[in-house]
């Protein structure tokens, strides 16, 4: 599957896909989108790279292992929940900062929670793809 054309095309498509995934993530609170879809698109970008260049290079490009993305996602989501606690309210109560931020509008714990979902979904899908596409260990058997 890894042809020169695909590899060259992927180089230009992937940054765009990443940007699009972040766009989906942050506008999700007001327009169609959100952490789930954003994470899936981000994962799709990495998959495209994997198909073109192989798992080994994809792992290098990603820098962090997908397990760490999953763990980070859960932690961020939990953090978003605990913030409510720290603020003296129920677990998972939304806490919003009162200053407007360009592009995404307002920032609050629900946005943080969505970021956690985004990270976890990306990590999970990438993990599966790396597992399935990994041909290295089969050679050893």
């Amino acid at each position: 599957m890894s042809t020169l054309i695909l590899r060259t095309a992927v180089k230009y498509i992937i940054p765009g896909m990443f940007l699009f995934s972040l766009f989906l993530l942050f506008r999700g609170h007001n327009e169609p989108g959100g952490g789930f879809v954003g994470g899936l698109v981000a994962a799709a970008a990495i998959i495209l790279y994997t198909l073109a260049n192989g798992v080994e290079k994809a792992e290098k490009m990603l820098h962090v292992s997908p397990q760490k993305l999953i763990a980070a996602g859960l932690l961020v989501a939990l953090l978003a929940g605990i913030t409510g606690w720290i603020a003296g309210k129920e677990f998972m109560t939304g806490i919003w900062l009162d200053l407007p931020i360009p592009v995404m509008g307002k920032f609050g714990t629900p946005v943080l929670f969505d970021i956690g979902v985004y990270l976890l979904v990306t990590g999970m899908v990438v993990k599966v793809i790396f597992t399935l596409a990994d041909t290295r260990e089969e050679g050893n058997q």
């Binding site: 989906l24 999700g28 609170h29 007001n30 327009e31 169609p32 989108g33 959100g34 952490g35 789930f36 879809v37 899936l40 698109v41 994962a43 799709a44 998959i47 198909l51 997908p66 397990q67 999953i70 763990a71 996602g73 859960l74 989501a77 939990l78 978003a80 929940g81 677990f91 998972m92 939304g94 919003w96 307002k106 609050g108 629900p110 946005v111 929670f113 969505d114 956690g116 979902v117 976890l120 979904v121 990590g123 999970m124 899908v125 993990k127 599966v128 793809i129 597992t131 399935l132 596409a133 260990e137 058997q141």
Partner: protein, 763 residues
């Protein structure tokens, strides 16, 4: 304060392994013995300063919505039990370190026994029936671990399971009783129920309540016909037998009966059941003790007999009977705990517990001998021991009651003397014989506890008129439900009761002289064998296992198809049956109108579904699945769900990639099913399909509630600060659900990781 006292053992338990790393065996025992000892001191202070009139329950809220509070009550009865639990506990904790020696096993033992001690204290101090039940179950559970301590032996595991099942079923009975009490009185508080028992006593549920509560108490305290688990539980290490199965846990049933006695006393069913079952246990236990040659078995069967006596005395209900009960219970805890521990010390030093080959230990184990002899004197009821005071009272009570029970008491009394001689006199004075190990006295951890406990029995006897009287009067009033004047004394002059005492002692010694013949008594008599409760227990257990095995091999036969068919057939039968009776076909909303786009979506979905079914290669089937997914996404777009459509589209793309990566190298589908099974499956599947269609149509018959829809619509922007309501629900209103769902994803990833690792490792 009480909460803290009860929590201490639980709090220390997790740290035992840490302490055990630095200090092993007897040193660990010495350190940990401080816990029961300090608790003992604190209970002693409370007991000395106790003013019965000013007892107030100590309440912390726990689950207020169902009326479960951490409520505790330290009255005389609780404190007496608390003193026994921590006092005997100190001796046992000290003893076990030296007895079990070094190693991880000892650490494990102390964890279990600390949990047990905490749970036992919880039972006696609880002022809330559900709280009491929780601690009650916790003692069953820790007793299971302790009886099965030598878990490599089949007998240990069998005994542990038996004790757990018998007391566990009793526990369920108790729970049912507690819930019924709550349904009548509306409270779980023991203080409240005792202070106003009239509602309970006049309730129509009184009979089931009494039966259920007694079911719990009788199984725990090993009353006939549930007595069989206790002798089997002697598989446990000796310190456990001394602690759980004579001094404390088996008395939990007696405690429960005593605690609730003020509520139920005077009701025929209550008093009669206690007298009948207690009396029967007293006689059966004593009779079965006759032929025993194992020191621990002798002590176990006499414990049964005493437990029966205590229950029976509560059944008598008179002030003197209840006083007797408390005195007898205290005396028993002191002498039986001691005798169990001396039996353990003898076992430890000689390597045997068989009385037929024990003898001449007086000089070799002088401290153990002192403790054993003094305790045996108390057990036999010889002046000036506390056991003597108890026995005098017992005979006095029995003389005024039923003649049948009076003879039972005398019979048990004779055997008590006989067993006391065997367990506490014979090993020291009989001629010396060859034993597996050469006997020697253990260090102070093996003797200090027994010597102290035995001496306590002596002191309480001598000080019967002041110290014992003071203690007992505080403890008996809560059982009677009113203030009881107690005046005890060691010496009542020469009277008929003293004569009876003398008679039983002589008769007991007479039995001892013919013991060789008694050992040959058969265990069961002819046809009675089939009625033995332990045999019935085995049969019931076997039947249960047989049924479970049959059911498992029928339902779980290893063929996925059969499981699925069973599940769907059940669903069809239940819901389909409901439809058959309740669904009016004419009410169904049939609206066949359809627009162009809908028709396209429908065709795409159905085409994908059919191609997937008939496809000859995996790749076609996977692509067909993708087509159906696109069709579903189209439906989502048509009906106002752009978020769903987006997600569905991305997922569909990814899942096709996943499938292709996994299967593109595999050969074509093999033809595995024959025509007949295909037709059968098609019938099942299409029945379910039709059924689901009907479910949807039937749902439309009913009015739809828009309450939630309106709530989310109204609150999304003001409360959730978002315009995309679906997203606001996901990350704000129902974020905990989403949290759980992303956790599932994480777990799936961990599972995938594990699968790959596992196959790599295993090849």
């Amino acid at each position: 304060m009480t909460l803290f006292q009860i929590l201490i053992p639980f709090l220390v338990a997790p740290f035992v392994p840490l302490i055990g790393k630095k200090r092993e065996g007897r040193e660990l025992g010495i350190i940990l013995a401080f816990i029961p000892f300090l608790l003992f001191i604190s209970f002693l202070f409370e007991f000395i300063n106790l003013k019965p009139a000013t007892i107030t329950p100590e309440i912390y809220q726990w689950i207020p919505s169902i009326g479960v509070d951490l409520a505790f009550r330290s009255d005389g009865l609780s404190l007496l039990f608390g003193l026994i639990i921590t006092g005997i506990g100190t001796a046992v904790f000290l003893f076990a370190g030296g007895y079990l020696g070094k190693g991880m096993e000892t650490v494990k033992f102390y964890i279990y026994i600390l949990i047990f001690m905490g749970a036992m204290l919880g039972i006696v101090f609880s002022d809330n029936l559900l709280l009491l039940f929780i601690f009650w179950e916790l003692t069953s559970f820790s007793s299971f671990l302790l009886i099965g301590f030598k878990h490599k032996y089949l007998a240990s595991r069998y005994a542990a399971l038996q004790a757990l099942l018998v007391t566990g079923i009793g526990g369920l009975s108790l729970l049912a009783g507690v819930i019924l009490i709550n349904s009548v009185t509306g409270t779980f508080s023991i203080s409240a129920i005792i202070s106003d028992p009239s509602m309970l006593r006049e309730s129509s549920l009184l009979v089931p309540i009494i039966i259920l509560i007694l079911g719990g108490a009788f199984t725990k305290s090993a009353q006939v016909p549930f007595h069989f688990w206790l002798p089997n539980a002697m598989e446990a290490p000796t310190p456990v037998s001394a602690y759980l199965h004579s001094a404390t846990m088996v008395k939990a049933g007696v405690f429960l009966v005593a605690r609730l006695n003020p509520v139920f006393t005077g009701i025929g069913l209550w008093n009669d059941s206690l007298m009948i079952f207690g009396g029967a246990t007293m006689v059966v236990g004593a009779f079965l003790a006759l032929k025993q040659t194992d020191l621990k078995k002798i002590l176990a069967y006499t414990t049964l007999s005493v437990l029966g006596t205590l229950i029976m005395l509560t059944g008598y209900g008179s002030e003197i009977a209840l006083t007797t009960m408390i005195v007898y219970l205290t005396a028993h805890a002191l002498y039986k705990g001691t005798l169990f521990l001396t039996a353990g010390a003898i076992d430890h030093s000689t390597g045997t517990r068989d009385v037929r080959i024990l003898g001449g230990l007086l000089k070799k184990m002088p401290f153990t001998a002192y403790a054993g002899i003094v305790a045996a004197f108390s057990m036999a009821g010889i002046i000036p021991m506390v056991g003597f005071v108890g026995k005098e009272l017992l005979y006095e009570t029995a003389m005024s009651g039923e003649p049948a029970l009076f003879f039972g008491v005398l019979f048990a009394g004779v055997i008590m003397v006989y067993s006391a001689i065997q367990a506490g006199i014979h090993p020291y004075f009989a001629p010396e014989k060859e034993t597996p190990l050469s006997p020697h006295e253990g260090d102070f951890t093996l003797t200090a506890g027994t010597v102290t406990a035995a001496t306590m029995g002596l002191i309480l006897g001598i000080l019967a008129s002041n110290l014992l009287t003071g203690m007992v009067s505080l403890a008996v009033s809560p059982v009677a439900g009113k203030t009881v004047d107690v005046s005890l004394g060691l010496w009542h002059g020469f009277n008929i009761i003293l004569l009876l005492s003398l008679g039983t002692i002589i008769a007991g010694y007479g039995l001892y002289t013919v013991r060789e013949k008694l050992y040959l008594l058969p265990q069961v008599y002819g046809p009675l064998e089939y009625l033995m409760p332990s045999k019935l227990y085995d049969k019931a257990l076997n039947l249960l296992m047989f049924t479970a095995r049959g059911q498992t091999s029928f339902f779980q036969n290893g063929y996925l198809r059969n499981y699925i068919i069973t599940i769907f057939a059940t669903a069809l039968l239940l819901v389909g049956g409901y439809f058959f009776y309740h669904l009016d076909l004419t009410e169904l909303v049939i609206d066949p109108s359809m627009e162009m786009y809908e028709a396209i979506a429908g065709v795409v979905i159905i085409a994908g579904a059919i191609i997937a079914t008939v496809a000859k290669s995996r790749l076609y089937a996977v692509m067909a699945l993708g087509i159906t997914g696109l069709g579903v996404a189209l439906v989502f777009i048509l009906y106002g769900a752009p978020d769903l459509a987006l997600t569905q589209l991305s997922i569909e793309t990814l899942s096709v990639i996943l499938f292709v990566l996994a299967i593109y190298k595999l050969p074509k589908f093999l033809k595995l099913s024959n025509r007949n099974s295909k037709i059968r499956d098609l019938i099942i599947a299409s029945t379910m399909g039709v059924f689901i269609t009907f479910v949807i149509l039937a749902v439309y018959v009913h009015e739809h509630s828009t309450e939630l829809k309106n709530f989310f619509a109204a609150e999304s922007l003001p409360g959730g600060k978002g315009r995309n309501i679906v997203n606001v629900i996901l990350v704000d209103f129902r974020a905990i659900d989403t949290m759980g769902e992303i956790m599932v994803l994480g777990i799936a990833a961990i599972g995938i990781f594990g699968l790959v690792k596992l196959v790599r490792k295993g090849g």
